[in-house]
Point group: C2
DNA sequence: ACGTGCTTGTGAAAGCATGCACAAAGTGGG
DNA sequence: CCCACTTTGTGCATGCTTTCACAAGCACGT
């Protein structure tokens, strides 16, 4: 029951590792573009901004894809990580809320290259509906269920105002969408089994402000502290 | 040397706690808008989407601001968290890269209300320079140092293409900006003491895809798994 | 065929974060 | 004034993450 070689990975890659795999993938693709064939954990770790022991442990969760004394074959590793992340299949994404941010996402080219295809745009504003954004017609949010079903959407992105976000999320879920990326500044309530990730610009700024203040306090209070001057 | 009451908090709030304080703050402000005067850890935790023990431990790092048997006074807690996060002062933010995303951020009203003021917009495209976005003139990126100094910018937001991001980051740092929020899909290299946070849309989607695939694999392989059907 | 040198993969230790469960501390009613 | 009730603040146990340090393994030159 524990024969590893044929199907190397067990279920259960740590969450922290999953969050770093896309970073490794991007670094590897950059190497690939430059024609690099193999890379050591040290070099890849430095390109990805992590420590090499962490990188090796992360990769070890996918299987034993390196060669001792040599490193990792870039192309093979790109494939293995892509497969693990589910990027070898095609994911249809719907964006709800075509304001500034929704438009910015719709026009962002970075998705298409990695298995994500923007399949539908939805908005509640009648003036918006029917307009063409990034070569897609904006549909009215009332058609959410139809649109999800007919275009096979499995990931929903919410860029609506905060007040509408929960409603849209609930409709996504009821239409069978179990993965949601939420940009609205609210905590979404969804049933178990639905995966919500949140991106919140204002929270990131607040975290930066906290650290900036701490630096400033330290400088003021205990004269020079470790920090900027140790380079 | 360990007298607590007068200045309750020691240095060193855990990073995980810092990341949640903005969420609590938002939930508290929503309560405040509804006229709520006090709130229990249970109620606030549920509004913030966390468990109440975690909330209490988080808040205990700031000091003892609750009343046993009653809860927390909303207004007082808003003030304490704001102060801890450094939101009682005003932070000048510069946005470099006025593409779709940069414009979306510039026009997003959510910052102003919480101590952040967009003080400058920068772009490398001569056609963009001089245009007015969100009532600010776009300046050429070559003026970065001048702009930072003259407007007192202390937080830099990078929404440039990936290829330009590292250059802009380096210039921000040399101009004295020690807090950077990076939307470009690259790992930035900065000296110690500079705080970089990354927001990466494509990474979030990839993490969602991973979990979505895992759900699908499970359903296919071991018939029905725990998940959507347990509601 | 064998030894040398390099790099991976992984136990084991240390460090964080989470959640339980309860004592401590306050409120309000009788 | 005391008792019952509520809710905070926190010690402790558990689990997850990171980091160290080194044995195992492979390539290459001789």
């Amino acid at each position: 029951m524990t024969s590893r070689p044929p199907r190397p990975r067990e279920r259960g890659i740590p969450e922290a590792t999953v969050a770093r795999l896309p970073v490794y993938l991007r670094a590897l693709q950059a190497l690939q573009d430059r024609g690099t064939l193999t890379v050591s954990s040290e070099a890849l770790a430095s390109a990805a901004g992590v420590n090499s022991a962490k990188l090796r442990k992360d990769l070890s969760h996918l299987g034993s894809y390196g060669t001792r004394g040599v490193g990792y074959e870039v192309e093979y590793l790109v494939y293995q990580i892509s497969r693990e992340l589910g990027l070898t299949q095609d994911w249809a994404v719907a964006i709800a809320g075509i304001g500034n941010l929704g438009r910015a996402l719709a026009n962002y080219g970075g998705f298409g290259t990695r298995g994500f295809r923007i399949a539908a745009l939805l908005d509640a504003d009648p003036a918006m509906v029917g307009q063409s954004v990034a070569s897609l017609d904006v549909r009215h949010i009332d058609n959410l269920e139809d649109v999800v079903r007919s275009t096979g959407v499995s990931i929903g992105v919410i860029t609506t105002p905060a007040a509408s976000a929960q409603g849209v999320a609930t409709r996504f879920v009821q239409a069978g969408v179990a993965s949601i990326l939420n940009f609205a500044p609210v905590v979404l309530n969804v049933p178990d089994g639905v995966d919500v990730r949140k991106v919140d610009l204002s929270i990131e700024l607040q975290i930066l402000a906290f650290h900036a203040q701490r630096r400033a306090d330290g400088d003021g209070r205990d004269a020079e502290r470790a920090g900027l001057e140790l380079m």
